[in-house]
């Protein structure tokens, strides 16, 4: 009568490796210096990426699952997981150079970061709503601690705001999850998709209410307007290394959850797409308009993260095949360009408040390498053609446009024109004649940051010229149509 649980190690291995890094940072922190632990964590992240690559299933192969489908190591999970690992490695590498200045260079920082990555991978690999929720909570709790960990008033304020608003978001999400379970009687993505497959699913009101609450909860996590209010304060108040992590890895994971839930489980459910469309329109307007008026560069990047949430979420409006591929491509590109830009801020800032946009004037004459790299990142964020940001935006707009969201696509194009202004103004200032005294932090070597920035900029350039290097893996619509399983 007792059925033994369906335990398989291989699909769980990428998550277990990261968790091992987190636990070893917690325990070995008493014996080893922090930089050694960071190196161990970097190696474990690489191993985790290798384990994910081994889970890739070719055409015709069934994806590896475990725990009766609670854990799905399908190709979508592998691709999103690799993006998460890339962002986490950027954050760890940058922290090697800047953690001491940010007063974060202790083992607990690494431990919390790796716990957060464990949660993000659980979301990407989830096969039912409960696992997704627990992954989200692990990630959120660890992120609240990361944002607060620096011993300063700014960080404490940012962490408390993040904690309070994030908890409300989680509560809304759990309520929505309960309503969806009540409407469909299933927690697994596949079961929900099957229960909502008919044209008139039972308990329609409950299903719509649950889907909208889920949308609001995820809206908090990815910072869709009007749920974005915490984003600028948290991203600009937290230490820059943490902002890098929060605005890349945490956002990628929240989008992975949205993709699983809305692109997989609820793809047949009515009404959420219309609501999402309105949220995206509000996000595009608010994010881009607020970015125009920022004077602090770090805060401008925070608002640009809100604006990019709008662009990224447009991919969710496409058909699962096209939209999933667009989102997968854009998420990696977004991670690389935002990560590289914030890495430069972390290296050059005098204080954790970041630097003013006017301080960037003439940076080319003082730090030519950083200036050129920052200009490339800003051009990519603005979506200028030789860089990968252009292709990501194009794919997202195309996915929404082809599914009939014409006016939203027009609004997004207009918004990205407005975005040119606030991205290219600092980019031009970089190359202006240098008349002001240097305002950058003058001390120290930054080998790891230089490596991160070089790799990030090289990647966005190469992916912009040869997008198929990454898009070729994503392009198969079957990957994204099977998000919920069969």
């Amino acid at each position: 009568m007792l059925t033994p649980p369906d335990v398989a190690l291989a699909p769980l291995l990428p998550i277990l490796l990261v968790l091992a890094g987190a636990v070893s940072s917690t325990v070995l922190g008493f014996h080893l210096p922090r930089r050694t632990l960071t190196a161990i964590n970097l190696v474990l992240l690489l191993l985790s990426a290798a384990a994910m690559a081994l889970l890739w299933s070719g055409p015709g192969e069934l994806p590896a699952t475990a725990f009766g489908g609670s854990l799905r190591a399908d190709n979508a999970a592998v691709l999103l997981g690799l993006t998460i690992v890339a962002g986490s490695m950027m954050a760890l590498l940058v922290s090697l150079d800047t953690a001491y200045r940010a007063r974060l260079s202790f083992p607990e920082f690494d431990a919390m970061l790796m716990y957060a990555v464990t949660g993000t991978l659980l979301i990407a690999f989830s096969g039912d709503l409960i696992v997704m929720l627990i992954g989200l909570e692990v990630m959120s709790l660890a992120s609240y601690v990361l944002a607060t960990l620096q011993d300063s008033r700014r960080a404490e304020e940012s962490g408390l705001k993040y904690f309070l608003l994030g908890s409300v978001g989680s509560a809304v999400l759990i309520y929505g999850l309960a309503l969806v379970y009540g409407a469909t009687g299933s927690l697994s993505y596949g079961g929900i998709a099957a229960a909502t497959a008919g044209l008139t699913p039972g308990n329609l009101g409950l299903l719509v209410g649950g889907a909208l609450l889920l949308l609001a909860g995820f809206g908090f996590k990815v910072a869709l307007a009007p749920f974005h209010q915490w984003t600028p304060d948290v991203y600009s108040g937290a230490p820059t290394t943490v902002s890098l992590f929060l605005s890349t890895v945490v956002k990628v994971a929240a989008f992975a959850g949205m993709l699983r839930v809305f692109g997989g489980a609820l793809q047949n459910a009515p009404f959420w797409a219309s609501a999402l469309q309105l949220l995206i329109a509000a996000t595009l307007i608010v994010g881009n308009a607020a970015s125009l008026f920022q004077t602090n560069f770090k805060r401008m990047l925070a608002y640009s993260a809100v604006a990019h949430t709008g662009f990224l979420a447009m991919a969710l409006l496409g058909t699962p095949g096209l939209g999933g591929a667009a989102l997968g491509y854009y998420l990696l590109v977004y991670t690389l360009m935002t990560g590289a830009a914030l890495a430069i801020v972390a290296a050059l800032q005098r204080t954790e408040a970041g630097m003013n946009i006017s301080d960037l004037r003439g940076l080319y004459h003082r730090h030519p390498g950083y200036a050129v790299a920052l200009a490339a990142c800003l051009a990519s964020l603005a979506g200028l053609p030789p860089f990968a940001g252009f292709f990501g935006k194009y794919l997202a707009f195309q996915a929404a446009f082809q599914n009939g969201y014409v006016w939203l696509s027009i609004l997004a194009v207009l918004a990205s024109v407005a975005a040119l202004v606030y991205y290219l103004r600092p980019a031009m200032l970089l190359f202006m004649p240098d008349r002001t005294p240097a305002r950058e932090y003058p001390h120290g070597q930054r080998p790891a940051t230089n490596l991160t920035v070089a790799l990030g900029v090289a990647a966005i350039t190469v992916l912009g010229l040869l997008p198929n290097l990454w898009y070729g893996w994503l392009a198969d619509p079957a990957i994204w149509e099977l998000l919920a399983g069969r």
Binding site: V7, S105, I130, G444
Partner: protein, 195 residues
């Protein structure tokens, strides 16, 4: 049915007290009433193990912690501040009534996706055995993942309460090593420090 209505009404009264009370201790006691009534609801649905856990964990452990914190932080004085947002009570009341109406409509049109007999059979009288078996077979991964969640909460809380000392990193040179006791932006004049 009568038990259900009574317990439901008690849970609602407790919830209203929790929200409306100006004294934090009263609010916590209202929450006790709600939690006990919900435990009674579980018992009336023959989920006996869940009812016992609800009483022991929520009404027992967590509420006692709440009360301890309220007493320790001296938060048991009534709140006298005014809400800065106008009409928030009225709006919340109207919204609550609309929500209650919508939920009532949904509740009366609800069709259970699982046949009731199937659910009752799976419950097996709500004993600990049925709950444990489900936790360790069907919900094994969430069950294990929750332990990671608790670990994160513990490590995070300890790290925040006793912030460790930053370790020098070897890449910051001599001048950079001297960490200011407080972040420089709080002492430096606006506009940054001239080099």
């Amino acid at each position: 049915m009568i038990a259900f209505l009574l317990l439901g009404a008690l849970a609602l009264v407790g919830a209203v007290v929790t929200v409306a009370a100006r004294n934090a201790v009263h609010a916590a006691l209202g929450l006790v009433g709600t939690l006990l009534s919900v435990a009674g609801l579980f018992a009336s649905l023959s989920a006996s193990f869940l009812a016992a856990v609800q009483v022991i964990v929520y009404a027992g452990a967590i509420l006692v912690l709440f009360l301890f914190v309220i007493m320790l932080l001296n938060a048991h004085q009534p709140v006298t501040g005014r809400d800065p947002v106008p009409f928030v009570r009225e709006l919340a009341g109207i919204g609550g009534v609309i929500l209650a109406g919508a939920l009532a409509v949904i509740a009366f049109s609800y069709r259970d996706p699982q046949p009731l007999a199937q659910g009752t059979a799976a419950l097996r009288g709500g004993t600990a055995g049925a709950v444990g078996e489900t936790l360790l077979t069907r919900f094994l991964l969430p069950f294990e993942a929750v332990s990671v969640l608790l670990l994160v909460a513990i490590v995070g809380a300890v790290a925040l309460v006793r912030r460790p000392a930053p370790q020098p990193d070897g890449v910051t040179d001599a001048e950079g090593v001297a960490l200011p006791g407080e972040l420089p932006e709080r002492t430096a004049p606006e506009g940054g420090v001239r080099a």
